[in-house]
Amino acid sequence: MRHLHEQALVSLHDADVRFGHTHALRGVTLTLYRGERLMLVGANGSGKTTLLRVLHGLLAPARSSSRQAQALQPEDRLPRAAMVFQRPFLLNLSVRFNVTLGLWLQGMPAAERAARCQAALQRVGLASLATQRARALSGGQQQRLALARAWALQPDILFLDEPTASLDPSAKREVEALIESFADQGVTLVMSTHNLGQAKRLGTRVAYLEAGELVAEREVTDFFSNPDLPERAQQFLKGELPWHT
């Protein structure tokens, strides 16, 4: 069910991606709506990461497919996007530099950069570590830094590729809380995860991928309780959640 006031931000039609012999995405048709929290679930190698990259614009789908971005209303500009990866790649420089880099690449003047950087670091609780070497931070801190880096760009869409998969439980909670707070402020989320509990907690919509195919896509409550799901999706849920009936 689509609410009438939701805007379409990115539409994918029949997206196809191959890496050599591997058929990573097979004809995926999907539309991303403003304000939603789309969770991508599926086994390893199912195409979640590829789909994220295509939606983000890092990867171009085959010519037979189409990917379209639409202007935001009422802002009347194309949506800005940022992405957070499972293992963040941080440059071997200071925490602050890693955040300002993205801003500098956008051509922002120095004063504004500094202000945004400070705000972003405070938001994720890393302001006191601004001058530390980014690579010296713990896993959880590094992921928070990645979030700060993304947040500083004031994105309209935040793509996340299994952002908490490599973290210990307390870091997981911290990062999840941050992601949720971003979403609460109106950022559209697209997140892939292995953790179905996480998908249930954070998502508004769930898409299940298997071997590059978009098998099922439902509102979150529907996904987890509806017996109408395609057989394969049901099998997946059963495998991941043994107590699901």
């Binding site: 990115v10 983000h56 614009g57 971005a69 194309l78 949506p79 800005r80 996007a81 690449l105 956008q106 051509g107």
Partner: protein, 287 residues
Amino acid sequence: MAYLKPGSTLRHGIAGAALLLAAAAVMGAGGAWAQASATSFIVMASTTSTEQSGLFKHLLPAFKAATGIDVRVVAVGTGQALATARRGDADIVFVHDGAAEQKFVAEGFATQRRDVMYNDFLLVGPKADPAGAKGNHIATALKKLSATTQPIISRGDKSGTHAAELRLWKDAGIEIAKARPAGYKECGCGMGPALNIGSSLNGYVLTDRGTWLNFKNRGDLVVLVQGDRSLFNQYGVMVVNPKVHPHVKADGAQSFADWVVSPAGQQAIDRFKIGGEQLFFANANQR
């Protein structure tokens, strides 16, 4: 989704800056170093054997004191020295191969050749002298050598020494090109390296006195033949013709040519000694 992409500006900026830096460095280095000599200088093409004898260390300061001109010596084989001058990369030539020098003048690369001095060649070989070359006449020595299988080291590098060596063999009735002795070896190298090889193989080498006196790696080698007139080695000086190479520093070069045949230059040559022995004999106005 459109991102602002100043990435290309960055790329162009860095590339531009780097190219500017590189260009500036090259020009700066070139300019600074080319002008590093506030004093005027000329480039002289001469031979390795002459430089290694130590003559220039003795002679050139005297010239500088007299005229204020620095002489930068590029020391290579005679063939290469003349080639360098033909290309206009030297202002003056100072070598010891009469025939090649006449050709140089005939081709117009110099207007004149002047005698300056001579030194002499020696035949060195193992103390035991298995070929029985020791004596007063080089032609006899070479004939004896050619009949044996003893190692004979030749420079084989188209140098003045090499040319002289081939002439001596010819005068002894042996055409190296057609019938070389059993032990004849060409190294395509300078006098010092040839002596190095001779020393390690315990063979016979025709060398100039200057290099021999400075050579420290003699092993078992001693002088076997010296004093034969045909072993004398004449040096000549030629200024590169400015009509052919207008950029040549003809005035400075002519200064040297004039000075080295003048009494002052000739005396400086005669005064140069190694271990009390005179090496070069000034003969500018004798022939």
